[in-house]
Amino acid sequence: MGRILPFTGDPHRETRDLMPWLVSGRLDPDEQARVEAHLAACQECSRELAAERELAGAVAELPIATGIGWAAMRDRLDAAARQTSPTALQPARPRFTLRQIGLFMAAQAALLAAAISITARVATPVAPYHALGAAPSTAVGNVIVVFRPDVRESEMRRLLKGSEARLVDGPTAANAYVLRVPQAERAAALSQLRNDAAVVLAEPLDAAALQ
């Protein structure tokens, strides 16, 4: 009963094909025993296994769609800091490629989704990083918005004015901004923001419901 079933074809090839699941421990016991028996006798496959472990580790460690992330994030932080600095109001350099923007937006959306689903405490600033002045704001936001990473300050200003929004907090860790809009106008403001190409995401926030 305990006999290991032999490979039905080329043991090199079968070992090679099954290696990813040997590494992740997802082979059934028979397969695992067969592969391990072959590995013990085959240097070539052993070397291959070492390379497979290296690849699996490298891929598994990739941050979510952020391989290009930190460079883009750093630029974004710099741009946000420039936008809020009265001495250096200038549009962000258009140094993002479309691809970078896509991945950056993915990272933002994922981070934001996580932030919202874990806790939606509006009044508490989410980010350790602030560029909006030292005085803590007492205003409570009721809208959260993520702009495209390459959006210009003038566009943001136009959008905020157009939707009668005031900036309450941000950028958060996910580069989202918390806005305050007149409650009666919120639905219209959200609709306007969502329909704007400069906006990646606009969602309502309800502090009262969370207390």
Binding site: R26, V59, A71
Partner: protein, 199 residues
Amino acid sequence: MSDGGVAHRQAGEIGVTATPEDLRLFARVRARDRDAFEALYRLYHPRLARFLLNLLHRPQLVEEVLNDTLFVVWERSDTFRGASKLSTWIFAIAYRKAMKALRRLDEPVEDADVDLRPSNEAAPDEPLNQRRAQAALLAALARLSADHRAVVDLTYFHEMGYREIAEIMNCPVDTVKTRMFHARRHLRRIMDGELADWL
């Protein structure tokens, strides 16, 4: 018999393939318990988001496909027979929805023009080599077809076996192995080249 009763009966029949936790939660979903569905939503959202981001490479589509997927889970909960793990069933729905969304776009799935390389400025707090190697790997992943990316993602990130992946992708197990082999060869070539350049 109530929906919940049906689910409990199934739990007894299929304990081998679906985990007890899966079944307990899903029994409540089938009984139209919104709280249970919310718990399931929150449980699967991060995994599905990651899978769909890697598969679609279009962040604007991810949330739509993800919610379509989980809406089907809610609406069609009676069709889950427990012949597979709950996660397999849900990922299979997500995969089908994602491929349908890609077909709807009617554009190439692969990115021929991959420009993922970060700026050459060194970040003071991150090793340059690691950043470059990760960018190269991401670029290599982006060059794979959506089907190959799905296999890589389900194997390395979600640690699924090839049989489960075949079930999700509705293809023969040998196809999964072959896709994985070609994907690994491609990624290895890129990774080796990158290391050779920088070590």
